[in-house]
Symmetry: C2
Subunit: 335 residues, 2 copies
């Protein structure tokens, strides 16, 4: 149907994992762009753990998505019609397009892709929020230094794979935690991690970390939280930094895990710090140039886990929380 915008709106708030039952598919007429706006065709959507937070009752640090509202999502799109100066049909852009095929957005909320830095598919992962998050989390919050031991949880996920490779580039010893032998092989064989721990195969994760990091952890880049965080805390070195980037084990959980090992922070003179990448908005360009340069030099790569069709976006969100993706999860909406 031409002139139609396919979209998914929030139907109900999940209490546990999100799935197709929480979203409604609608087809509505395309909204013609007013002055200063533009009409886009969505190409790829990014699926991120934070999206589960946005649809919860009380997200805390961002406005929640309301019932009936188009699901919020970042993505890559092509300009169809522009009434914004500097943009022309055919331009490739990134924006918070939402779960819809043909968003109409204010030009101020749309950014043209610099294809000299990377392809549109790089812009949704490595050069997008995913890569930029790993960059600031590792370098600013983690303050990694050459020779240090870095442990990354959720290491085969979107942010984790970039965080680990940044650690390698900065001459750290990098150990990843992931679920399943296949993901672990991906980490060590394809991404150059020094070691990988399959948490599904370990009865005692803290002991497995101790074996993989015999001198302890200097920086723990945590995307998982809960019991994984507790196991890492048991293995900190003096002066360790724990970066709380995400906590996918807890995000959709109703019974929060109680972390018991915080007392170890005292003797280890260690810190735990949370952050939100938006605070580094003024420095995104710096991060993207660094990441693009490393990628061109062959020192960093990204694996995407692509699923097809806008209608499968809710399923993708569930996959993320069940750990069914290897690499950055994206939905292909159009070519």
């Amino acid at each position: 149907m031409r002139n139609a915008n396919r979209r998914l709106t929030l139907k109900s708030r999940p209490t546990g994992l999100a799935g197709p039952e929480h979203f409604a598919e609608e087809v509505v007429p395309i909204s013609a762009p007013a002055d200063g706006e533009m009409l886009l065709e969505t190409l790829y959507l990014s699926i991120d753990p934070a999206m589960r937070v946005w649809i919860s009752e009380n997200p805390g640090y961002v406005p929640r998505v309301e019932i009936g509202e188009v699901m919020r999502a970042g993505g890559i799109a092509r300009v169809i019609e522009s009434r914004t100066e500097g943009f022309a049909p055919g331009d490739l852009v990134q924006a918070r397009v939402g779960w819809q095929s043909h968003p109409t957005l204010p030009g101020a909320e749309v950014q043209k892709l610099d294809l000299a830095l990377g392809s549109p598919l790089h812009w949704i992962g490595l050069l997008g929020m995913t890569g930029v998050t790993a960059y600031f989390g590792m370098r600013e919050i983690g303050a990694i230094r050459p020779g240090e031991t870095v442990l990354v949880s959720g290491a085969a996920g979107g942010v984790g794979q970039v965080a680990g490779q940044i650690g390698r580039i900065e001459a750290c010893r990098v150990v990843g935690i992931a679920g399943g032998a296949e993901k672990c092989t991906f980490l060590t064989q394809e991404l150059g991690f020094d070691a990988a721990i399959d948490y599904k195969a370990e009865a005692d994760l803290a002991a497995a970390i101790a074996r993989a990091c015999p001198n302890g952890i200097d920086v723990f880049y945590d995307n998982v939280g809960g019991a994984t965080l507790d196991a890492a805390l048991a293995n900190l070195r003096m002066g360790a930094r724990v970066v709380i980037c995400g906590r996918i084990s807890q995000t959709a959980s109703e019974a929060l895990y109680g972390v018991r090992n915080l007392g170890l922070l005292i003797g280890k003179r260690a810190r735990i710090q949370g952050f939100v990448v938006f605070d580094y908005h003024d420095r995104y360009a710096e991060a993207r140039h660094w990441l693009a340069m490393q990628h061109k030099a062959g020192r960093i790569q990204q694996r995407l886990h692509v699923i097809d069709d806008l209608a499968r976006a809710p399923e993708g969100l569930g996959m993320l929380f069940r750990g069914e993706n290897t690499g950055k999860l994206v939905v292909r909406v159009a070519e």
Copy 2:
């Protein structure tokens, strides 16, 4: 008995609280000082939560006290006989004297008190490890700034009372948590805290903190840990710093409390940091001069909780963990 050293040695390791049953009293001949040593008479002993850690199976960051060894403790003493240059009989000193009446120590481990800064009783609290810990914890780890809201747990204890008063001096709004109405009155009426929360009278500590800190907490100076930490985490402001100085609720506990609110660190861009005052050894003089100056100007005071007799030192250690002291707990061994 002249020429006798009364001492308490560790008899067995406690699993829960420490008490008299874990120590043995002995009377042994005084050890005559060799060249470079001196014989001391202990006047006051400091009783600190960390002592319970030192006698545990695995203290982590300091060597443990072995069975049969004199219990480790800091204190104030008088020189009886000196074979160390620069020290003479009658000098007042501080040292790790241990739980004994007449220690013989190497001169290098003994420091003469600068009585221009404060009395011997100030040197055991405000100018001792207690005050110096509060100084670096608040100013370096907490990085308090004027106008901020500071919450202190264990506020009527040795470190807590100094930490809170440092916050007031630095123009912070200071709220203390303590057990019982009497301690709370001490905080607000005598030490100038802006508010105090009697945790024993509150069914919901997080809600009580929210009432006392309606704009949230910028710095939480934590001496207690466990459920108190969780309740404070629920009330952090953007950019908050949590200083883990101690965790008296957990130190002698076998079933560690699981902290559930760590996820809030992300949206609040907050950090939790542990520290050990020994790392600031090179700057103790700075801290002592600052604390002495504030005391002389009438802006900071200390309350001591004095118990008499070396034999009661183990009982004092138990009192600390049962919250039976108001102010810094010390044992008077001699005048």
